[in-house]
Chain length 223, copies 2
């Protein structure tokens, strides 16, 4: 019988299991000298557009938003984006590198329910996860697209409870994104902030329950 | 009889009538060499926190959020923020410089209804507007705080209709903030993007009706 106060270990995808900046290399190859800026603005706008569309009541899929954000980032950097280049960069988003400890950690969590819960739509998440070595170690892949509510709205996190048939206090939720940790903790999950870059927590009146440098830290809850 | 298709000319405050980066000087004085970064992160987090709190259902006033964002910006820049320094910087937010053409433009709009509509709470807006030369030229100062809905939610823009007793198509709304233009246009206002820095419009599937370098451009609608 597994011995943890948590029944379900739920992971954000982008930034948490997969390194969104692993597209820098491809960006640099296509736009010499501008790759880092384009990659940074791309990610920043991707998040911002998901928040803004939710606020305006104009939901569209994260894949659409990812393309919109890329187009903005290229215009902003005065970099011409051909249709082929756009396709190539979006494709690279479906092949992001995962953080190296992910497989080992998921393996040690096997007695428990594990899931990914992401703002990404399934047409992005499925190819991404299938090219990783840990696809068979996940019980569920949950996308907000099913409820058309981006994190961090409370209604988005509710999907985890419905799909995994757990109570909110039985969930340990992992994210590297401070806004996701704030939303999940505000909803009632226990939260572990995977703070890979030694950042400051955002000042949103909410603290993570746990903070770790990488995913290995959460294994203290399954001893 | 005034001759325009618009009955009400409604202005965003921060970035549109008042220069939020006029605090750089004070930041640089207090934190030599770090003023520009702190000022930029302060503004970025101020916006982000208003969006995130709205999404999480954790509204608090924009004055609170402005303090939270300042505390984050200083931590992030490894700059110590004493209580006195914090007070001094927040006070400087109540004395932002206005863009020079504002008074002239508001004067020419006098036959029409004019208003400020801002995410700022009245305890920020009132002192700010009262120290400007154009306070007597405004018919209304409207704060989202009355409905506890930050822009760009549709419910926030609804306040303008209720308070000014106009229909949405009778409003010309001015903002320098692309997310505010998108929200206002999505709601049904006519919009004029005051694009002072020659930026790219965000890729949110919405275009401003008009785009001007500064506020003087809108005067073509009152000839």
């Amino acid at each position: 019988m597994p011995d943890s106060k948590f029944k379900a270990f739920v992971f954000d995808a982008y930034g948490t299991l997969f390194d969104v900046h692993s597209v820098i290399e491809k960006c640099n190859e296509l736009f010499p000298g501008k790759g880092e800026t384009i990659s940074r603005v791309w990610r920043q706008k991707q998040l911002e557009y998901s928040f803004l569309r939710q606020l305006m009541g104009r939901y569209t899929t994260f894949l659409e938003i990812t393309g919109d954000a890329l187009r903005y980032a290229c215009k902003d950097a005065r970099a011409e984006l051909s249709q082929n280049t756009e396709k190539e960069l979006i494709d690279s988003y479906l092949k992001l590198k995962h953080y190296e400890e992910t497989e080992e950690v998921l393996r040690k969590l096997q007695p428990y329910r594990t899931a990914i819960f992401s703002n990404g739509s399934l047409n992005m998440l499925t190819p991404l996860i299938n090219q990783s070595p840990f696809a068979p170690l996940l019980d569920d892949v949950l996308s907000v697209d099913e409820v058309k509510q981006f994190k961090p709205t409370p209604m988005s996190y509710q999907l985890v409870l419905e799909k995994m048939e757990v109570r909110r206090e039985e969930v340990l939720f992992m994210s590297s994104n401070t806004w996701d940790i704030a939303g999940a903790a505000s909803f009632g999950f226990h939260t572990a902030w995977i703070n890979r870059q030694g950042r400051e927590m955002d000042q949103l009146g909410i603290k993570p329950h746990y903070e770790y440098e990488d995913l290995r830290g959460i294994l203290e809850h399954v001893k």
